[in-house]
């Protein structure tokens, strides 16, 4: 099996994995980028969402060789240098996460939306985010956090402080 070269968060990473190994396993188990999560393995929940060339992709359904050789992969670890992407700050401000397991995927999915559509409507947000499951039921706060950034409002806490 030849080495694959993956461009992840601006760095080239070489891995040697069996053909067909998902990008998710490569990120998590071979490279230690564990922010993207395994939950369903069949593209039904969005916990593993990363960006490939700016598009949100469910990394459990993508073979690593399919995104090798220069395609730009961004994971939650590379979304910002120090966790200060506006969405990450809004997520803290709205106190979105509960268990937190799905939230890397939620943030990556939301970031891809705002990159293309900086001020989506509520319905556009719901439509875009509907494939990302959250069992703790944090959807209203996710929506609120995205709207905070989309509206470019100064960030306020959930209680208006």
């Amino acid at each position: 099996m030849p080495d694959l070269t993956l461009q992840i968060n601006g760095q080239n990473k070489k891995v040697n994995v069996a053909e067909g190994t998902s990008l998710l396993w490569v990120l998590r188990e071979h490279l230690g980028l564990t922010g993207a999560k395994y939950s369903c393995g069949v593209g039904q929940c969005g916990s593993c969402t990363v960006h490939v060339n700016g598009n949100p992709v469910k990394s459990c359904t993508v073979a690593a060789e399919g995104v090798a050789d220069g395609q730009a992969i961004t994971t939650i670890e590379g979304l910002s240098k120090d966790g200060t992407h506006p969405l990450q700050e809004a997520w803290i401000n709205a106190q979105v996460p509960q268990c937190g397991y799905c939230q890397s995927g939620q943030i990556m999915q939301a970031a891809a939306l705002l990159d293309k559509n900086p001020s989506p409507s509520r319905d556009e947000i719901i439509q875009h985010m509907n494939g990302n499951l959250c069992r703790c039921g944090t959807y209203l706060r996710i929506l609120k956090a995205i709207q905070m950034v989309a509206g470019n409002k100064s960030l306020t806490t959930v209680n208006g402080k």
Binding site: G32, L79, Q95, V96, Q98, G100, N130, C136, G137
Partner: protein
């Protein structure tokens, strides 16, 4: 860096930590594993100071950082903040300098009083974290403060009674001296014995500066940048990967037909036959998963063979019609007599299908047995670390004291993770390859099909009234699998009904069942609150007014009803096609009224919840925003479970397998608004984590009845079932 009296590394902020460790083989998160493998390249910028242990609960660094142990699991309910907040309140710690770690999983030291009020347990279940630890953490925090005061008193040679504290500072007003907590480390003197601090010597709640305030959750920043660590994220040197094929017939015994071929496959390290599954150990996860699919297994029969879940209800009916009594749960007054004297009698039956936990992180655990076979370590996200310790010890023939549990964040629990099955299995596999660690992953399909479900049940309710709108008797019979799993929430002592009777009759099926958020409250409150509405309608009363009368002797319950009715503008007109429904529940001591507003698509039978209002009395609220978040999330989880979640079993086999056929709530299913009110209270804190979920079934069913005049009596209310009811 001298005189470090503990092995903890206190000052690495999580963010900095990830920065310094990213790319190394052994990733360490917020949960206190020893970072022996990290690079020291950034050591210069990190000064951990001199670290000393104050008590079993807290370490203090000379740089001022206070490291507090959280004895509860963090599965999203906020224990990583709430318990340390309570502790810090009494210790008078500066919250900005607090760091939180999971405590060792030793229940004798870190447990809280269990169900008997005496024996200590460490179980994050039944919404018991805050209520079982509230006084304990206050007293432990006060003891830590005592150690600091004692040290300063000795050092300055002043009476301890002359010392006071401000956040992070000990003050001696008489000599106008102050000392920061961190500076006490250099002269810390732990007294020979630390006195118990009785409740009356704790802070007056009027003076709380942390409890009840809007405190951001400690764990949330790490849950926005990917650095929060779950057991699923652990990687250890030399680690192997394992999966287990368990089939979808609970309890069936496997015979592997192609073991030689499997063992010969590339990357396969071991094959382990368990009583109910075949384990594969491989050098990579992808190999373990690929080989799992190649297993040729012949499955034996099981108790579940031939069981069809949808046919079980007719059997439950026979059981309830039969004369064999089950376990009596309530018997006050004389229901039979009340029934004989009744002006009017009501009766109705309610049913519920199995539901699955569907926590986003499938079960997993990492176990490493030492080369000498005398100790083991387990990395797991568990609602009860000590249970996992015992399960691993049993699998390895060790004493629990020989097993160390490294508790991780839980990617959801909801009751599933108080069973230690994944850790026990990982141990059985790891012992065949010791000392190499084994990471066992359940796939989503494993997690769903070999799940432990909230049991099915049939509930038959009978009530009688006196002709003047008073409910004189109430009887509640339950038939289903799981004994105690069926009974929680059956009590209705907040309703003024003189003659009450409740009984459970158990019908075992062999299907794996377990506590599921709010346990029996889901089905039982669905039945009770739907039925109360039905009686209200039958007696010509408004559902809120009718409950108001029933609650006349329960002022705290009534206050939640009044508040929710006010929030929802109960009684005011709604647009065409909309209706409201109300429900009241008590769960884990918390009293909550919920009201929802729904509409219905008559073509598909799909119910849409537009708004949800809730008002709760949960006693003293430690973290108001977190309590609101728990109720909001609980309602959303409830909406999924009520409208679309369903496990069905045909000939013993689970029919669903993943999120494409087990439908949990999505963003589009969420109400446009959820408003939560918390009633001011100085009573002991109660449990809130489960109080939102069981509101939903009854509130929706009652709104549906208001909208259509028809009753929904079988959970979930799928479009198909709704259309059937509408005729």
């Amino acid at each position: 860096m001298k005189n470090i009296s503990s092995q903890h590394t206190p000052t690495l902020s999580r963010r900095k930590f990830i920065k310094t460790t990213g790319g190394f083989a052994f990733l360490i998160g917020a949960t206190g594993i020893l970072p022996q493998i990290i690079s020291c390249k950034s050591a210069k910028e990190i000064d951990p100071g001199i670290l000393k242990q104050l008590t079993a609960w807290v370490h203090l660094s000379s740089n001022g950082q206070v490291t507090i142990y959280n004895p509860a699991a963090e599965m999203g309910q906020g224990s990583m903040t709430s318990l340390p907040v309570i502790f810090s309140e009494e210790m008078d710690a500066d919250w900005d300098k607090v760091k939180v770690e999971f405590s060792p999983q030793e229940k004798e030291v870190y447990g809280s009083p269990g169900w008997d009020g005496k024996t200590k347990i460490m179980m994050t279940v039944g919404s018991r974290t805050t209520r079982s630890y509230f006084t304990l953490m206050r007293q432990a925090g006060a003891q830590a403060r005592y150690v600091l005061l004692h040290s300063v008193s000795q050092h300055w040679q002043v009476p301890i009674s002359e010392l006071t504290t401000e956040p992070g500072v000990v003050v001696h007003a008489a000599s106008d001296r102050k000392v920061n907590y961190g500076d006490i480390v250099s002269f810390l003197q732990t007294p020979e014995s630390i006195p118990e601090i009785p409740e009356e010597q704790l802070k007056n709640p009027q003076n709380f500066r942390l409890i009840g305030k809007e405190m951001p959750r400690w764990d949330i920043p790490s849950k926005t940048d990917g650095s929060a660590q779950f057991a699923m994220d652990i990687r250890l040197p030399d680690m192997l990967y394992a999966t287990i094929e368990r089939g979808n017939l609970h309890g069936a015994k496997p015979t592997l037909k192609n073991e030689a071929a499997i063992r010969a496959m590339e990357g396969v390290i071991g094959v382990v036959t368990l009583d109910y599954g075949i384990g594969v150990i491989a050098n990579t996860l992808e190999r373990a998963l690929a080989v799992k699919k190649q297993l040729d297994i012949e499955w034996g029969g099981a108790q579940t063979s031939g069981f069809n879940s949808q046919e079980a209800f007719s059997n439950y009916e026979k059981v309830l019609n039969g004369t064999e009594k089950g376990r009596e749960l309530t018997n006050t007054g004389d229901f039979k007599k009340a029934r004989q004297a009744a002006a009017k009698t009501y009766t109705a039956s309610f049913r519920n299908d199995y539901v699955y936990h569907a926590q986003m992180e499938p079960l997993n655990a990492i176990v490493q047995l030492a080369a000498d076979g005398k100790s083991a370590e387990v990395w797991v996200g568990s609602q009860s670390g000590p249970n996992d310790k015992e399960a691993v010890a049993e699998a390895l023939g060790l004493e629990p004291s020989q097993v160390k549990v490294h508790l991780q964040y839980l990617g959801g629990g909801f009751g599933r993770r108080s069973a230690p099955d994944a850790a026990g299995e990982a141990a059985m596999l790891a012992k065949t390859v010791a000392p190499r660690p084994v990471k066992l992953i359940w796939t989503r399909e494993d997690d769903l099909q070999y799940g432990m479900y909230r049991p099915m049940s049939l509930q038959r309710l009978t009530a009688c009234t006196d002709g003047a709108g008073n409910v004189t008797g109430f009887s509640h019979l339950v038939a289903g699998d799981g004994a105690n799993l069926l009974t929680s929430g059956i009590g209705i002592d907040y309703y003024d009904i003189p003659n009450q009777y409740a009984e459970v009759r158990v019908v075992p099926h062999g299907v794996r069942i377990k506590h599921w958020r709010a346990v029996g409250h889901g089905p039982n409150k669905f039945a009770i609150e739907s039925f109360i509405d039905e009686i209200a309608t039958g007696e010509g009363g408004d559902p809120v007014e009718f409950r108001r009368k029933l609650m006349k002797n329960s002022p705290r319950a009534l206050a939640t009803l009044d508040k929710a009715a006010e929030m929802a503008k109960w009684g005011t007109p709604l647009p065409e096609g909309r209706a409201r429904g109300v429900a009241f529940i008590e769960r884990s001591g918390t009293l909550t009224t919920g009201i929802c507003e729904i509409s219905l698509d008559p073509n598909t039978g799909k119910i849409k919840v537009h708004h949800f209002w809730s008002a709760s009395d949960a006693g003293i609220i430690v973290q108001p925003d977190n309590v609101r978040a728990q109720i909001e999330g609980g309602i959303v989880m409830g909406i999924g479970s009520v409208l679309s979640e369903q496990i069905t079993i045909v000939d013993g086999k689970v029919q669903q397998s993943n999120f494409h056929d087990y439908h949990i709530a999505r963003m589009e299913d969420t109400p446009e608004t959820i408003e939560t009110a918390l009633i001011d209270s100085q009573e002991t804190p109660q449990g809130v984590g489960e109080s939102g979920t069981p509101l939903v079934a009854c509130a929706i069913a009652n709104a549906f009845a208001a909208l259509t005049g028809k009753r929904l009596r079988h959970l979930p209310f799928t479009g198909e079932r709704v259309l059937e009811v509408l005729g």
